[in-house]
Amino acid sequence: MECIITIELGTNAVRIFAFEMNGNIIASMKGSYPTFHTKPDYSEQDPEQMFITMLYVLKNLLTEKIHPKKYNVAIICFSASMHSVLAIDDRGVPLGNAITWSDNRGKVEALELKNSSLGTRLHDITGTPIHPMSPLIKIAWIKNHDRSRFEDTYKFLSIKSYIIQQLTGEYAIDYSLASATGLLNIQTIKWESEALAYAGITVDKLPELAPIFHSPGKLRKEYQKSLGLSPSTKIILGSSDGCMAALGAGVWGEGKATITVEDSGAVRVISKEVLRDDRHRFFNYILSENCFVSGGPTNNGGLVFEWFARQFGDFKNPYEVESTIENLIREASNVAVGSDGLLFLPYLLGERAPIWNANARGSYFGLNINHERQHFIRASIEGILYEIYSIGKTLEEHRSIKRLSVNGSFASIPFCTQMIADIFNKPVTISKNADSTSFGSFLVGATDIGKYKSLEEAAQTIELTDTFKPNQSNHQIYYRYFEIFERLSANLANEFEAIASLQQKH
């Protein structure tokens, strides 16, 4: 029997799934790797460790679950988190660690560029917001502050390109992941010369561009042997985690959007046209030719609630954050919708869409003498989801959204999913496939093999059933509090600046 393997190089871990051709999951395994914060604003990962972890997990999955059942691996399809940068020398050896999406070292460069006409133009042309996350800014930072690494760099890769090069020997990047670098013109699908000039590099410093279905070549013989794979196993580049999650959630076509909330979160739509916003609040990434994933990301998802749980939850046993969260949510459900007037701004990690303010801070507002601990719990969850709604609401200025598909460990907690339905006042589906990113990768692989004629056809096969229906009267209450939430977020802008600049001095 044939199977498809998907490899997701995520923020904290590699997740590998094996699918039967009908989309059923045969098995999945994960292996985590750490993120190092060696200085404030730095977020780095060890490329060798990521590679070894990926190999180790892949090998375990194959020898324990795939080979014993005599599956033939037809395709291995990749996905990875966006925006990573890894400099390598002319031997292919990494020059230092990979810089991940959450790295903020280029904040000065980003702010300068964002406030210039070049910045506005580059956001339009490349689809990637001008932000420290983008490889455009990171490479410029290396040029300005790490001259010797910049001079020694043979190529600037993404983590995925590095790992695929290790496996096959080829340097390649798919249009999709490339469209999140801030260096690609999303209309011509070529590296954008103005962006390259800003970063101080030429085209030869970047890997070859290719479609998401592209195969960069066979596995090196040594890996075929050690993994027990045949030369006929096809490697395909695949896409980014975000685009795959949108594809795997089945939101292709008019009137649908997907909400992902893990540690961070995003609201996304898929369409044939780029989403133009004169206030530049959205990203536009390519999924495949003439198909764009547009939306807004938030920094403050499940991670913020985990923070809350660690500070204020009751831990029965050391490190048992999951059961602590469960108990908190049970408590939150005893509080009325709207938390009796307690509001929470969740910007603990600064914020991206829609306010795009790295200096934004968290805050509880509206506190009165009758509020108890449980109000804080519910207000925290409501605040995180109001932020998601504020992205969705700005998206609705451009696209009509009639139903939502929700995924990610935080958003798919039933209490949170119902709250999303109520706040948005729209029916919500939980994806049948627990891991939308991997399922999206499966659809890419299955399309490549010819099971589907196109990604569109593949995505249409995902049934969206309305499992959570909105409660009208709850929506009315949420909406009124949301209006205050929205005004607070805007009105506090000056105070966010004030406290950030104060903290820089002391």
């Binding site: 994960k30 070894i52 292919g92 043979y154 040594e222 890996y223 050690s226 831990f315 490190y319």
Partner: protein, 296 residues
């Protein structure tokens, strides 16, 4: 408790405890200059605050100690009062002779009933700990009080009991240090700290017990947490780090393979080679040849 002082060589009670160099309780009623100048010693020194507030400098860092707090000063570390002054209050101290090995390990000696691996783990916890202060050590007065009572009454079995009490003191200290250093709420954070410790000491033959102790968990809970969080057993996770570090070193032409094997914690180049090949499909030297300069 009344004041007392036992000193090795002077107090006959300590004849059967050659490892106890000094054990005392003192009430300090006035401050004097140069009453506690910075010194280093060969022994482990413990200072327990019974009452009062003490301002001390240990290893260059300043600490304020309050009743119930305990400071542990390891061999070679410099300890003294701020401005050389011993503050007003009541203090219990205990100086214990230990053997320090070259690798900085502390061996308690034959009086201790701790197994070798337990005592290695405890010494690692003490050594890796940058802030040698235990806050609010619960009921420790009782522990010191018991040692004192056994020492003066000399009832049957008192030597064994005192040595046991000393072992218990070390166990309590080690457990409390790991709990104090890890919030017990944020496993990713604790695990990251552990990973950094492992990477700094990759050549060491880590056991699961040692790793677990550094996170403040028992071996069983630790195993389960690591497996859940990383997808690997602790020892397999360690192999991951060893191989990733080895790949970095292989990319430097000046390093030899045996040297790399030993620095990354493999016990021989053979062991390194087999593990490496099993995981990567290449032997270390094949892997090294793979990365040749590109023709530009």
């Amino acid at each position: 408790m009344n004041q007392f002082i036992f000193q090795q060589g002077q107090a006959k009670e300590l004849h059967v405890f050659p490892h106890i160099l000094e054990f005392a309780l003192k009430k300090i009623n006035n401050t004097q200059l140069n009453s506690l100048n910075p010194t280093a010693a060969e022994c482990v020194r413990m200072y327990f605050v019974h009452d009062g507030k003490f301002e001390w400098i240990i290893n260059g860092n300043k600490f304020n100690l309050y009743p119930g707090d305990l400071a542990i000063v390891l061999p070679g570390q410099i300890f003294g009062g701020e401005n050389g002054i011993l503050n007003i209050g009541t203090l219990i101290w205990l100086n214990l002779k230990v053997e320090s090995t070259e690798s900085g390990r502390i061996l308690l000696g034959s009086w201790s009933d701790l197994s070798e691996s337990e005592s290695i783990t405890i010494s690692k916890i003490l050594l890796f700990n940058s802030a040698p202060i235990l806050i609010k050590l619960r009921d420790r007065t009782t522990l010191f009080q018991n040692i004192k009572n056994e020492l003066t009454s000399q009832e049957i079995g008192y030597t064994t009991r005192i040595n046991h009490l000393l072992d218990e003191l070390f166990i309590t200290i080690a457990r409390q240090i790991t709990r104090q250093n890890n919030s017990q709420r944020d496993f990713p954070q604790t695990f990251l700290k552990l990973e950094q410790t492992l990477r700094q000491n990759l050549a060491h033959q880590w056991t699961v017990e040692e790793m677990a102790a550094l996170t403040g968990l028992g071996a069983t809970a630790f195993n389960e947490k690591v497996k859940n969080y990383t997808g690997f057993s602790p020892l397999n996770y360690l192999i991951n780090i060893r191989i990733s570090e080895a790949i970095k070193l292989l990319d430097r032409p000046e390093e030899n393979v045996t040297g790399i094997a030993l620095t990354t914690g493999f016990y021989s180049s053979q062991h390194f080679s087999t593990t490496f090949k099993k995981l990567t499909g290449y032997t270390p030297s094949e892997f090294r040849k793979r990365n040749l300069p590109r023709k530009q």
